[in-house]
């Protein structure tokens, strides 16, 4: 074919008129083939069938202003007056009505923490401290009452400080760092099981040497710093703050555990590998509901008498354990996709195992699997509604059992569920959009990779 280069010829070779613009788009995407045209017509028909009644129910015929149930029933549309009446109980559950500014504030803390962490420029070690502070503030305002200060508080503070120190001094040399991390683990263990250890010691001393050491009393030692707020036990927490707490803490704790599980499953050490495989397969093999049941009803039977673990904490642990198993497999998928050459190059440079994983392999593996990771996060967020079976009043249970259960408003369950669904949707949609933003952010490196 001859090379055509005159202006006239170039004009003649312009795109055919109906391939550009709106008409062109329609032709290409909606009516390109007979089959495509049929589908388009079918979809248009369905939309015409569904949209107008939906819009008139949701908006046009809806009762927006304050109204009694009777007035609502007289109107044909949605009764948003019900939400007007019941939104506090949906959002905050059983939390005392006059104190509900506290969960609102707590929720503000959580959402602020999440939003701040979304910015890449804040991805620095100190963000960990911000989170620790934010969560402490959340619990302070939610719980109120006196802040119990005991050896346990000291141990928790010690653990957090040692961990923070260990991580920020990452470059100071392996020994100093692992010392701090061990210290953090030790403090953490002390905070968790210190009471039980004391009690067991007490019992042993009594049994073996007939000594009344009274060590149990030591565990009870502590003083309360008044916050000036009334005490609200976790059994009264509910609604959106509970849902957010369970899912946010679930995500940030499950994620590192999942990374360790994924690495462990590929470890060369058989014991570690077998443990990780066993854990992942076991947890994936049972539904979350049964885990929540085990955590809430069975576990207490196995614990020594007198040892009580908070309901909320038990549900939280079940959610973390469950999501970690799923996430681990997602992350392992990412790890499998990293070419062997990357591992070899890191080895050849003399990087240690953790440097190789932390600097080379995981950053690439995790960015590869952002979509399924966010999938799991969204799943986790919605699965928190299952805690209702262990009678924690999360958003959905508050809607169902507290708002809709009111005899006067029972007829308007659809409005209640729509409202709850809208809240779930807003958060899930945010996660999905953010994940797409992240994917674009990380594309830089592989622009030209084949």
């Amino acid at each position: 074919m001859a090379v055509s280069d005159t202006a006239a010829e170039r004009a003649a070779l312009g795109p055919p008129p109906a391939t550009t613009g709106f008409l062109g788009w329609m032709r290409k995407n909606l009516f390109s083939t007979v089959w495509n045209t049929l589908l388009t017509i079918l979809c248009a028909y369905l939309l015409i069938l569904i949209l107008p009644p939906a819009i008139s129910w949701l908006f046009l015929d809806a009762t927006w202003s304050e109204a009694t149930p009777e007035q609502c029933r007289a109107a044909n549309g949605a009764c948003w007056a019900m939400i007007r009446e019941k939104h506090r109980v949906i959002l905050f559950g059983r939390y005392p009505y006059d104190e509900q500014w506290r969960p609102l504030l707590g929720m503000g803390f959580l959402i602020t923490l999440v939003l701040v962490s979304c910015f890449r420029r804040f991805w620095r070690p100190w963000i960990g401290l911000v989170w620790a502070g934010g969560l402490v503030a959340f619990f302070l305002v939610m719980w109120g009452g006196d802040i119990p200060v005991s050896y346990r508080t000291a141990a928790v503070i010690g653990a957090v400080a040692a961990a923070a120190f260990g991580f920020t001094r990452a470059n100071a040399g392996g020994n100093a760092r692992s010392l701090f991390l061990w210290l953090a683990a030790l403090f953490g263990a002390l905070a968790l099981v210190g009471n039980s250890i004391l009690r067991v010691l007490d019992a042993l001393l009594k049994e073996l040497f007939q000594i009344e050491a009274g060590l149990g009393g030591l565990s009870a030692f502590g003083l309360g710093i008044p916050t000036g707020l009334s005490f609200v036990p976790t059994s009264l927490w509910g609604g959106l703050p509970l849902t957010l707490l369970l899912s946010i803490v679930g995500i940030i704790v499950a994620f590192p555990i999942a990374i360790l599980l994924a690495l462990g499953r590929r470890s060369k050490m058989p014991l570690i590998r077998m443990f990780c495989i066993g854990y992942i397969e076991l947890i994936r093999g049972v539904p979350l509901i049964s885990l929540l049941f085990v955590a809430s009803f069975l576990l207490p039977l196995f614990l020594p008498r007198g040892v009580e673990i908070n309901d909320l904490l038990r549900a939280q642990v079940a959610i973390i354990g469950f999501s970690a198993a799923y996430l681990a497999e997602v992350i392992r998928g990412g790890l499998q996709a990293i070419p062997r050459g990357q591992f070899e190059a890191a080895d050849a440079l003399g990087l240690s195992y953790w440097q190789k994983m932390g600097k080379i392999v995981l950053p690439q593996a995790i960015t590869l699997v952002i979509p399924p990771i966010v999938n799991t996060f969204i799943g986790l967020f919605k699965d928190t509604s299952l805690v209702s079976i262990v009678s924690l009043a999360d958003l959905l249970l508050a809607t169902k059992d507290m708002a809709i259960a009111d005899v006067n408003w029972r007829a308007f369950y659809a409005e209640g569920y729509t409202f709850a669904a809208l809240i779930y949707f807003v958060f899930c949609f945010f996660m999905s959009q953010y994940s797409q933003y992240l994917e674009r952010q990380f594309e830089t490196g592989r622009r030209k990779r084949r």
Partner: protein, 245 residues
């Protein structure tokens, strides 16, 4: 110390396949050795045993006075002193060129970041690619990537450099820019073990050429002798195949 690398009676199997058979090879500091041979002859495996990317099962390998055993400390110690350049570059695609180079000096040698970056820029100048420092590997050509990979190894100030077919994955017009960098390096006195089919490179810089076949070192000689006066028939056949066109 006379030998920087000493291999005695090294054997390795992949399952039932005997890939290295009784390898004895010693290298003096500053020596340049080219290893050639047909594919599957074990030449890559041989140099990959030197920094323990492959594990040998019998025999002894001593690098810079440290014996390679299962001891992780020894392995890491040796890897710090032995640089390696791969056929497929293996740059870290999520980091800029500069970050690729500064990574190991900061984390393994514990250099301050500024000093590591200074050294990185110096090495990039040496491989004539300093203007690409802030790009990502995916934005560079193959030849540029391989020169970055060489610079990355050099940043660790290694005593030995291993090259595993460094030009085999390159387009022909890029081979020269990489070979030029390697020749510079050789002139500066680096100890080099190079697995390659670039016989021109072997002729101009090698102190010794080693020919391997079926896991054994078949012939070992100075390049002049090796090319003009090959002793074994296997070597003659190989040379006629790669030089005879």
């Amino acid at each position: 110390m006379e030998w920087i690398i000493a291999m005695h009676g090294v054997n390795k199997w992949y399952g039932q396949f005997h890939v290295l058979k009784d390898i004895n090879l010693s290298v003096r500091p500053g020596e340049k050795i080219v290893i050639c041979g047909p594919s599957g002859s074990g030449k890559s495996t041989l140099i990959r045993c030197i920094n323990r990317l492959e594990e040998h099962q019998r025999g002894q390998i001593v690098v810079d006075g440290v014996e390679l055993t299962n001891d992780l400390k020894h392995i890491e110690q040796i890897r710090r002193e032995v640089g390696m350049v791969f056929q497929h570059f293996n740059l870290f695609p999520h980091m800029t060129v500069l970050e690729n180079l500064a990574l190991a000096p900061v984390w393994v040698r514990k250099l301050p970041k500024a000093e590591a970056e200074e050294r990185a820029m110096h090495m990039l100048k040496r491989v004539r690619i300093a203007e690409q420092a802030l790009k990502y590997p995916g934005q560079l050509s193959g030849g540029q990537q391989q020169r970055v990979a060489i610079a990355r190894s050099l940043c660790m100030n290694p005593k030995v450099m291993l090259f595993d077919e460094p030009t085999s994955a390159l387009d022909p017009e890029m081979i020269k820019e990489v070979l030029d960098v390697m020749i510079d390096l050789a002139r500066e006195g680096m100890t080099m073990l190079v697995v390659t089919h670039e016989m021109g490179f072997a002729k101009s810089v090698a102190d010794r050429v080693i020919f391997m076949d079926e896991g054994k070192i078949v012939e070992e000689n100075a390049p002049h002798e090796f090319f003009n006066n090959p002793k074994s028939d296997r070597t003659k056949l190989f040379l006629s195949q790669i030089l005879g066109h």
